[in-house]
Amino acid sequence: MGTQIAHAIADGILGGGVYALMAAGLTLIFGVLDIINVAQGILVVLGGYLSYVLSVHLHIDLLVGLLITVPAMFVIGVVIYWLFIRPLRGAERTSMTLLACFAVALIVEGILYREFGSQYVSLSASYTNSTVHVFGFYLSEIYLIGFGLAVVAIAALYLVLYRTTFGRAVRATMQNQAAARLIGIDVNRVAAITFGIATAVTALGGMVFGATSGGFNPNSGYDLISRLLAIIILAGMGSIGGALVTAIFMTTAEALVDIWQPNWSVAVFYLALVIVLTFRPQGLFGRRAVRAQ
């Protein structure tokens, strides 16, 4: 039992890295654009399918394939933003953008069904089924790779946000869009690139998800997005650091519950959500201001 628990914790932490990355993208979009991108889940699945096509049909290694899928998803993100999000204005913008994202998700899901059908596929490479012996644990190699990639991506995101002029513009836009516009920041460009970056991380997330989840189909997007939404709301929307911590904490909790109750493990996310919001409506790391209308 002890080793089982220790193993669950290790898996939870390693798996949480990828969720942290995807949640960071989601919360970044929320912070800059005031949008909840409910299409993030299906975009992860799309990223997974892109990796799948590259590896199965073109025999490109999964890790090398990321060099293609990440820029491709960036472009898809920017296009979605320019076509469907940017034109929405006015009082009902909040709900409109959310519904527009949902509609995009539906279309992507429908296209994926049409192209790939509903059978489960999984990504495989030499390193997806091997294990490594670390500190007395046998850890799956792909979990380690995924965690490593997520850490690198999050670090890169951090550097971009806190060490570049563009990052400063992004943070300024998150704080106050009107003021950012006044000091000469091209808010539309910042928003488009942010949306692109947040979508680009789904390519990475999709690859790792596809290799670790034991199979996915176009329907997997719902499962992903419900977890991601729970994470960013638990963390407090707009808090990137909070999203990272919460993601790792929640996946660990899920892995632990999974030992006893595999059917109910995902309910951990929602229960935590309900409990936290009852006592702290702004989330664990959220600022009060986020709640105001």
Binding site: D34, L88, L98, A100, L106, I107, G110, L229, L273, L277
Partner: protein, 353 residues
Amino acid sequence: MTDQLGAQIPPVTDFIQPGTRSVPLIRRRTFAVAGVAVVVAIAAVYPLVITNPTATNFGVITLVFVAVASAWNLFSGYSGYLSLGHAIFYGTGAYFLCVAAKDWHLSADAAFWLVPLGGVAAALISIPVGLVALRVRRHTFVVITIAFFFIAQLSASNLGVTGGSGGILPPVPGNWDPATYNNPFYYLALIIAAGTVALGWQVRRSRFGLQLRAIRDDEDRAAGLGVRTMPVKLTALVVSAFITGMAGALWVYFIGEAFPQFVFDPLFDLAVVLMAFLGGLGTVAGPVLGALILEPTQLWLNLQQSNSYESEILFGVLFLAVIMFLPRGLLPTGAEYVTKWRARWRQSREDAP
């Protein structure tokens, strides 16, 4: 209207910004009453004139959606709290009917009495949901309703009482005449739908409806003016859930099977929202119009092709089109055109010598 000191208070509509004020499409009261009477009369004789089972089948399901879209609008359209979790209440009503009919060994005819009870079950579920979800606003509220939706779906798949993923069957009416089989369902759906629309109309004119719309426009200000926001929001949600639960119970009885993925369907939530948006969010007739357009289209598409992804893509495209080009819905946009056209017509008459 006068305040306590007897001074004249301008009607509340004067405070509403011109852009958001809905102009009635038909101005004369007699016309409006006549129009409603004609629609109700057509709906009442429809299954008697067109006896084709497919047509009456469409009629039942469309009326169910008229009721649900109006009920959704009663809460979300008036209060501005966008719920993407009404399938929780729909599914609760549906499962209640199946489980209760099975446990209480009810005959097929008696199962109709379970429809209002299904509504009560959904209303009871909506109270804890509302107490948690209505503490947060905007995006967070939407996401909480989605989270509750997934909890409901997960519970339906894993609890023993619902039959798990294997599903559960409602009672089957045995010896009804096939020619008029759909009619009892149709008229019950019509009663629920008409009742919901009438309620929505009454609420819109009432103090309660005004409080809801004040919450939609600015909740903090409404609270400052003395609206007890939580009870108002919760009441609207419970009423909406009650109707949605009744509709769900009736629907599952008509369809004749209940599976978790089918009863708790994320597409259901979107469909209802799209109906309200298409017709006109927060108007009385909008959701009705939206349901009358969309649901038969969807049913017809399902008949035409077996691939669900085709209709999924089409649905998404249609949704995007409505959001991009008709963000305020058909009725408000149409009313705007009529008003403009009337003004121009009046202007040209005045200009004429």
